[in-house]
């Protein structure tokens, strides 16, 4: 079977004025359907750049990235947006919810751009919110929710379109350890129950411990991979 993510010799070079910065220097990876991967590394190791490319927010300079066997290299901005909408869910460190917009409306956001009718949207958003344990909080605005609850809204938003992959960039970075544990428990449960692939960036060992596979980045290269 085709692996979910297939990466070969991925290189990303940033042009900062006169200076070229190599953020990624040849990454080769295969991530299968249903994996729960933690990507670790010091800041500047290239893990955020890697996530942006994985999430089709950025394009590699060289090398190949196949998501479900398809390359994003020659797609337009709008075609990439459509793939993000259908295949990828994002969870950010800073939650990135729309303030002044209720929880359920935040979760509906990807469905709006998938052109679903409003009744269907509301139904799916409510289901996603209950999946992360936020029934009854649909009408609350982000400012009325705790950090952990906000991150759960963000997870519901990432899941609402039933994507193949969930990308989480330091999802517990702004949370205390107890709430972090709760969020990780949700990740594990989703991974076990729905088989969704999760790729998560973290720099904390105990958060990474929740994942099934750990990959360590250093200076734009993979230096350690716990995959069998």
């Amino acid at each position: 079977m085709e692996p979910l993510i297939h990466i070969r010799d991925l290189v990303k070079v940033y042009q900062l004025g006169e200076v070229e910065v190599e953020a990624l220097r040849g990454i080769s990876l295969v991530i299968e359907q249903g994996e729960f991967v933690a990507i670790m590394g010091a800041s500047g190791s290239g893990k955020s750049t890697f996530m942006n490319i994985l999430g089709l927010l950025d394009q590699p300079t060289r090398g190949e990235y196949l998501l479900e066997g398809r390359s994003g290299a020659h797609l337009t901005r709008d075609e990439l947006a459509e793939i993000r909408n259908q295949k990828i869910g994002f969870v950010f460190q800073g939650f990135n919810l729309l303030s002044r917009t209720s929880a359920v409306e935040n979760v509906e956001l990807p469905l709006i751009y998938a052109h679903l009718p409003s009744r269907k949207r509301r139904e799916m958003a409510q289901k996603a919110l209950s999946a992360v344990g936020l029934e009854g909080r649909e009408r609350h605005h982000p400012s009325q929710l705790s950090g952990g609850e906000q991150q759960r809204v963000a997870i519901a938003r990432a899941l609402v379109n039933q994507p193949s992959i969930l990308l989480a960039d330091e999802p517990t970075g702004n949370l205390d350890s107890k709430t972090s544990g709760e969020i990780m428990a949700i990740f594990q449960r989703l991974n076990d129950e729905t088989g969704i692939t999760i790729v998560m960036i973290t720099h904390e060992q105990d958060i990474a411990a929740f994942a099934k596979r750990k990959i360590l980045f250093k200076d734009g290269r993979v230096v350690e991979d716990s995959a069998p």
Partner: protein
């Protein structure tokens, strides 16, 4: 459709959050649309008044004025010395095609006395055709007849202003007034016509039979002569040729040699009037154009606020792009916001425009005229201002780089 509706809701919510800012932004459009509507209403009101006055003067009229004549080396101005005759008038009617009717007249200012009241007014000695041509109608009484003309009867018709100044509340019909000390019986009162295009009171007038005027009032030193012949053509198309033919005919009749100056002049009244109408039209266009500038300034206000809004919401745009918003979704969202701003401003502006115009006309007595076309046009214009000035900020938003937008603080 779903997206459009959702975009509309997102846009409305965005505007509601910043009520004060949205209101101030709209104010520019409100003032702009209001000004356009008010200015066009005032302009068309003025134009309509002039058009009405032109219609009240009668249509297709040529005026033949007695010309300058030279007597003893002294040149007199146009109309000072009568050089036209009643026979000239008859010749014009009989010999020139396209002439519907002619009416010669002599006129002069005279003191009119009734009881212990007196009033100075313009007295016309003429035939009933003049009243027809100039569209004067009777309010009461009767017009003078051919018999009155033949017998040089001492009868007169009074204009509204004269009646008001001499009679107060009394019915003037059958009363005797003295014009230049000659007693005349009042046989009719004319319908009021109001002011002329040039501001003179058209109702300050008395009509008497031409023959009577010639014998008793003005014409004694020039028997059989008239100062003015009013000619009405059958249709506007023949005005030009009639004007030329009248000139030709009168030169022949007055035995004027080629190269010699005319002793009369022919004027096309409609041309004078339509140039007044034209200047009113230009005026109203000019007013509208000036008002449009304020609408454009309002549009720049919208652009300014939308640019601020895009910058403020960079992160929101980043989130939307990350979860799958396409460029056109973002573009649409911000375009709708500026369109809503300008259209709501447009609707309020229509109200403000109509309201302020009504207040203005109440206090200044200016005639105003609203037209659905002008209001519709101002509204559409405000909408296009919204799209035009909203496009640049919206496009800027739709082309943001999602990674940078998400990192934006």
């Amino acid at each position: 459709m779903t997206t459009l509706f959702a975009s509309l809701r997102i846009a409305l919510r965005g505007l509601m959050v910043n009520k004060m800012r949205s209101g101030l932004t709209m104010l520019g459009i409100i003032i702009g649309v209001g000004a356009v509507i008010a200015m066009i209403a005032v302009g068309s009101g003025a134009k309509k008044r002039i058009a009405d006055q032109i219609a009240s003067m009668g249509s297709n009229i040529l005026i033949v004025l007695s010309g300058s004549s030279t007597s003893g080396g002294l040149r007199h101005g146009t109309g000072t010395v009568p050089t036209l005759t009643v026979d000239d008038a008859k010749a014009i009617l009989n010999e020139i095609q396209g002439v519907k009717s002619v009416a010669p007249h002599i006129s002069g200012v005279a003191q009119v006395i009734y009881g212990n009241q007196n009033w100075s007014t313009l007295v016309y000695g003429t035939i009933p055709e003049l009243l027809e041509i100039r569209e004067w109608s009777l309010q009461s009484g009767r017009i003078f007849t051919q018999q009155d003309l033949d017998g040089a009867a001492k009868v007169c018709l009074l204009g509204k202003t004269v009646v008001e100044n001499l009679f107060g509340g009394i019915d003037p019909i059958g009363q005797i007034v003295r014009i230049k000390k000659v007693p005349f019986t009042v046989i009719g009162v004319l319908h009021p016509k109001g002011q002329s295009t040039f501001g003179t009171d058209q109702d300050d007038v008395i009509f008497v039979p031409l023959t009577t005027a010639q014998k008793r009032l003005f014409g004694q030193q020039f028997p059989g002569m008239v100062r003015v012949i009013t000619v009405q053509a059958k249709e506007p198309e023949v005005m030009k040729t009639a004007e030329e033919q009248i000139t030709e005919l009168l030169r022949q009749r007055h035995r004027i040699q080629p190269g010699q100056e005319d002793d009369f002049s022919v004027r096309n009244l409609t041309e004078v009037a339509s140039s007044a109408e034209e200047s009113a039209r230009v005026m109203s266009l000019l007013l509208g154009a000036i008002a449009s500038i304020s609408l454009i300034v309002g549009g720049i206000g919208i652009m300014n606020i939308m640019l601020v809004s895009v910058t403020e919401r960079t992160r929101e745009i980043g989130i939307r792009i990350a979860v799958g918003a396409k460029s056109k979704d973002i573009l649409l969202q911000f375009l709708i916001e500026s369109l809503v701003l300008s259209l709501v401003g447009g609707i309020l502006g229509i109200g403000v425009g109509i309201g302020s115009t009504l207040i203005l006309s109440r206090f200044t007595q200016w005639p105003v005229l609203f037209s659905i076309e002008a209001i519709g046009l101002a509204f559409l214009f405000s909408g296009s201002v919204g799209v035009f000035f909203g496009f640049y900020p919206a496009r800027k938003a739709s082309l943001l780089n999602p990674i940078e937008a998400l990192r934006y603080e």
